[in-house]
């Protein structure tokens, strides 16, 4: 089953929180909605689930329209056959683990024996079968998470929805659960929408990511596309760490910094704009001691500068280097003193041109 969304609009009174967005999630595809809080990602998910009534647009699950307010079609949440994991897990405290997981079946009048069998199967999948008779208050956060997962998959749902399911787990547990969710989703092979504000989560789990801001889709693409070629400064900033240098188009062709240093960069398909910046990822910049020794390699960019700040982070050190009128973040395993003269070197394909909208905060 696929999910298709056309022109989805959601308003709370005079406030529009989702501005007519459209996207498709294919069968078996893992799609993340990524964005800062208040960007409309959770609202979008809740519209798909039927927990919020959309004000406009069409939502299809498979080939069935579940929401089309203009046509007066609204299928209730309980009719949509979805599996959903809530941010707070929403494990019912007055039922046992088995009671929780069996609920979607029992409420649909599945025979008791069959409920037992499927509950055991679902609990087996998440490795919780031995705790089936426990009460939720006796479970750790991670275990409650697994119960929520089991409950979401037990009815063989047509689609899976996740609302920031990992945000209440500690960092170690989060990583393990990420892999787990991904594996489950592959096995079930269902269309999945996953809401998160954590870019690492979105990049590592998804087939495609939709970045949202202010109720609109800013960019949609594979994790690699988003990271390497963000459509604008917002996406570049939100997905991964990045530094920016103001650049202007030179008379003939090519680009130069404000200080007049010529830069070779990836400007393929960049949208027209009044102002541009070059985006650099800190791990794609090489840093070495001393001023530049000539133009070593014609194909790389070279900038000279000095270290302004240094933050030791264990695996590497993050340096802030002032070069060509900009402050650039650089990750390196070598040691440099603050104030040291350094040379930065980076390949054109990791130096991406981004358009600067007028509304972008610089």
């Amino acid at each position: 089953m696929s999910i298709s969304i056309e022109n989805l609009t959601k308003r709370y009174g005079p406030l529009t929180v989702v501005h007519g967005i459209s996207f498709n999630v294919a069968k078996g595809e893992f799609m993340s909605l990524l964005g800062p809080s208040g960007c409309g990602k959770t609202t979008t998910l809740r519209c798909i689930a039927g927990l919020e009534d959309a004000n406009g647009g069409v939502i299809r699950i498979g080939d069935r329209i579940v929401s089309a307010p203009e046509q007066d079609v609204v299928v209730s949440a309980h009719e949509r056959q979805i599996g959903m994991v809530f941010q707070s897990y929403a494990i019912w405290p007055h039922m046992t683990v088995a009671g929780n997981v069996g609920f979607p079946l029992a409420i649909r009048k599945v025979a008791a024996q069959e409920v037992e069998r499927q509950v055991d199967e679902a609990l087996e999948i998440v490795g919780m079968r031995h705790l089936r008779d426990r009460h939720p208050s006796q479970l750790s956060g991670g275990q409650q998470q697994r119960v929520a997962l089991a409950r979401a998959i037990v009815g063989r749902p047509r689609v899976l929805l996740f609302d920031e399911p990992l945000s209440n787990l500690d960092a170690k547990l989060r990583e393990g659960t990420r892999t787990e969710i991904k594996r489950l989703q592959r096995e079930l092979d269902v269309a999945t929408v996953y809401v998160t504000h954590d870019q690492e989560e979105a990049l590592s789990m998804s087939d495609r990511v939709i970045v949202m801001d202010g109720g609109r889709i800013t960019q949609a693409g594979t994790p690699k596309e988003l990271y390497r070629r963000p459509a604008n400064r917002f996406v570049a900033d939100f997905v991964g760490r990045a530094s920016f240098i103001d650049v202007t188009r030179m008379n003939g062709s090519g680009w130069s910094t404000a200080a007049g240093v010529r830069l070779r960069l990836d400007d393929a398909g960049a949208p027209p704009a009044t102002r541009y910046q070059a985006m650099l990822r800190p791990e794609s910049i090489d840093i070495c001691h001393g001023a530049a020794r000539g133009k070593a390699d014609e194909s790389d960019n070279i900038l000279c500068g000095h270290v302004v700040e240094s933050h030791y982070l264990g695996a590497y050190t993050e340096y802030l280097v002032e070069a060509s009128g900009a402050k650039l973040k650089v990750h390196s395993r070598s040691d440099f003193d603050v104030g040291a003269e350094v040379t930065l070197r980076f390949a054109p394909e990791f130096c991406r041109l981004v358009a600067l909208g007028d509304e972008d905060r610089v």
Binding site: Q71, S88, A90, W92, F103
Partner: protein, 575 residues
């Protein structure tokens, strides 16, 4: 944007229908609830206002008039108005100081007897005001125990005191109100995030400086809110001013209203106007209190109960002990002992060695048809009424907090309205209403139940709503996405989860109904007398022994009910 029409029309019909059937049932229930609540609240209020513009008693032919409101400016009414306000202010100030002090001592210092004092203050809270007032009359009346002791036994007539005065009313009112202040201040004091006090500590403030400069200012909103509520409860209080004030001719508005209806020359119109005035004062105060609570919501209380360092009492330990035990003694233990003593005496005497002891009062309770009847009536009114109140409260909470259909704000407002209407005024409103309405309710237990449920509906909605807002909405949503309809979500998820508060609300209402007197005093008839009324009448007939015996039995029943609640709430907390 175009939608494939055939797909839309190809939807199975049941999809949209089932949604509307579950919702339809709920909406039907909603409108029934709305109409019921609106009728319960609006009928007495409208009738009261109507009555205040009439020249005659309810049910008799009369004319429209403004005379009653002009009567409000008469010297008699003005003086009881000022008496009411003065007594209200004195009582509230003293209650706030003592109640907050006790709460701070119990929860912020190294006071040693918290486990003893806390439950006793809880008991004091449920000790009915008219029984407390009776006990204090036996002690403090001109011919009462205290004066006999200081005068005849000690020979110190300059120590004589009279309870039938404004000061006496304030004294007994404070004893009655302190537990309320304690209970309202306890939550904020325990729930206050300790980091503010720790920060002050770290900044070099001594423990008492922390208390004065951080803790009390942070509690400011709670203090004001508790102060206003105490003021409201004081000026609408009926039993204490009636029992103490009528003999001493200290008249408060609530007592004046009662006197105008019950004793000739009666003036129902003026009584109604006084009721309107009193309700406006309490209503304005409640409105102010709501504003204060909304404004104060942003501060301090985080719910993270922290381990805060206790303030050492040091040299002041004796004062803390005196305050806490002194209060419990005067507010609960001594009155109970006095009532027990009076109830087993054949003839009242101050000296227990002169007394002739008997159990005839208790035997009389068993054998008299009227007392047994009033017990039965009370149990019916309390048992059935509390069930009705809980059901109505649950529905109101569900509609105003969860479903929120059109008009839910109006329902919310209607439910909270009785908070501002004093019990006697409600009784008077019902008196006016059922003289005209073609419903054969006057003089029935049903009317009594209607009066009690109306008056205490806010108690039910506060208790149930308090728990319902804490139940994460996603628990119900999870049920919906997993295939449950709205109704099934309510039945399988919400109801089981709020059931502790339903039990709590039931007992709270049960106890409130059991000891309620102010809204019953104007609408009871011979056949519908309840215990509180029986005790009241025996006492008014100067039959102290019988009144005391009945009071002892009623108090014991209330305390047993309270013990049941505490037990139930603590089991619910563990499970």
């Amino acid at each position: 944007m175009s939608v494939d029409a055939s797909t839309v029309h190809g939807l199975p019909v049941s999809d949209t229908n089932r949604r509307s059937s579950s919702r339809g049932v709920l909406m039907g229930v909603y409108w029934v609830t709305f109409v019921l609540v609106a009728a319960m609240v609006a009928i007495p209020v409208i009738a009261l206002v109507y009555g205040s513009f009439r020249t005659s008693a309810p049910g008799l032919p009369g004319d429209w008039t403004l005379r009653n409101y002009a009567g409000l400016a008469s010297s008699g009414v003005l003086s009881s108005m000022s008496t009411t306000l003065v007594i209200g202010l004195f009582t509230s100030v003293l209650s706030i100081i003592i109640g907050t002090a006790i709460a701070l001592i119990l929860h912020r210092t190294d006071f040693r007897y918290g486990r003893i004092v806390m439950p006793l203050i809880g008991l004091t809270f449920y000790f009915p005001s008219f029984i407390l007032a009776m006990a204090w009359i036996i002690v403090g009346a001109p011919g009462g125990i205290y004066n006999t002791v200081v005068d005849d036994m000690l020979g110190m007539p300059w120590l004589r005191a009279d309870i039938y005065t404004a000061a006496g009313i304030v004294f007994v009112m404070v004893l009655h109100q302190v537990p309320f202040v304690y209970l309202t201040m306890r939550g904020p004091i325990i729930g206050m995030d300790p980091i503010y006090e720790e920060a002050a500590n770290a900044a070099g403030a001594k423990p008492y400086e922390v208390l004065l400069r951080v803790t009390l200012p942070l509690l400011g909103y709670s203090l004001i809110s508790s102060f206003i509520l105490t003021f409201v409860m004081t000026i609408e209080q009926f039993a204490i001013p009636a029992l103490l004030g009528i003999p001493g001719q200290v008249t408060m508005l609530a007592t004046q209203l009662y006197l105008l209806v019950r004793f000739s020359p009666t003036d129902y119109g003026l009584a109604a106007a006084i009721g309107v005035a009193l309700s406006l004062i309490t209503g304005a105060a409640i409105w102010a209190q709501r504003r204060v609570t909304t404004a104060g919501r942003l501060t301090t209380v985080t719910g993270k109960a922290g381990r805060i360092k206790q303030i050492p009492l040091g040299h002041w330990r004796w004062a803390a002990n005196l305050l806490c035990f002194g209060f419990v003694f005067l507010g609960l233990i001594m009155p109970m002992v006095i009532l027990l003593y009076t109830s087993v005496l054949k003839w009242f005497t101050v000296n227990p060695f002169d007394g002739m002891y008997t159990l005839r009062n208790y035997v009389f309770i068993w054998e008299s048809g009227s007392t047994v009847g009033s017990f039965t009536n009370t149990l019916i009114v309390s048992g059935v009424g509390a069930a009705v109140g809980v059901l109505l409260g649950l529905l109101c909470c569900y509609f105003t907090l969860r479903l929120r259909p059109p008009g839910y704000r109006a329902l919310d407002f209607l439910v909270s309205l009785p908070f501002g209407v004093p019990g006697v005024v409600l009784g008077l409103g019902l008196l006016w209403a059922y003289a005209y309405l073609p419903l054969p309710l006057y003089g029935t237990l049903t009317l009594m139940i209607i009066a009690f449920v109306t008056r205490f509906l806010p108690y039910a909605t506060e208790t149930i709503g308090g728990q319902m807002v804490q139940i994460d909405k996603s628990l119900e949503e999870a049920a919906w996405v997993n295939g449950a309809t709205r109704l099934q979500g309510v039945g399988k998820i919400l109801l089981p989860l709020v059931s502790p508060s339903l039990q709590g609300a039931y007992f709270l209402l049960f106890m409130a109904f059991f000891r309620e007197i102010s809204s019953a005093i104007l609408i009871y008839s011979v056949n519908t007398s309840v215990i509180s009324i029986s005790i009241w009448s025996f006492f008014e007939q100067a039959n102290w022994g019988l009144a005391s015996a009945l009071a002892v039995v009623a108090t014991l029943i209330i305390f047993v009910a309270m013990a049941l609640i505490t037990r139930m709430v603590s089991t619910a907390g563990r499970g």
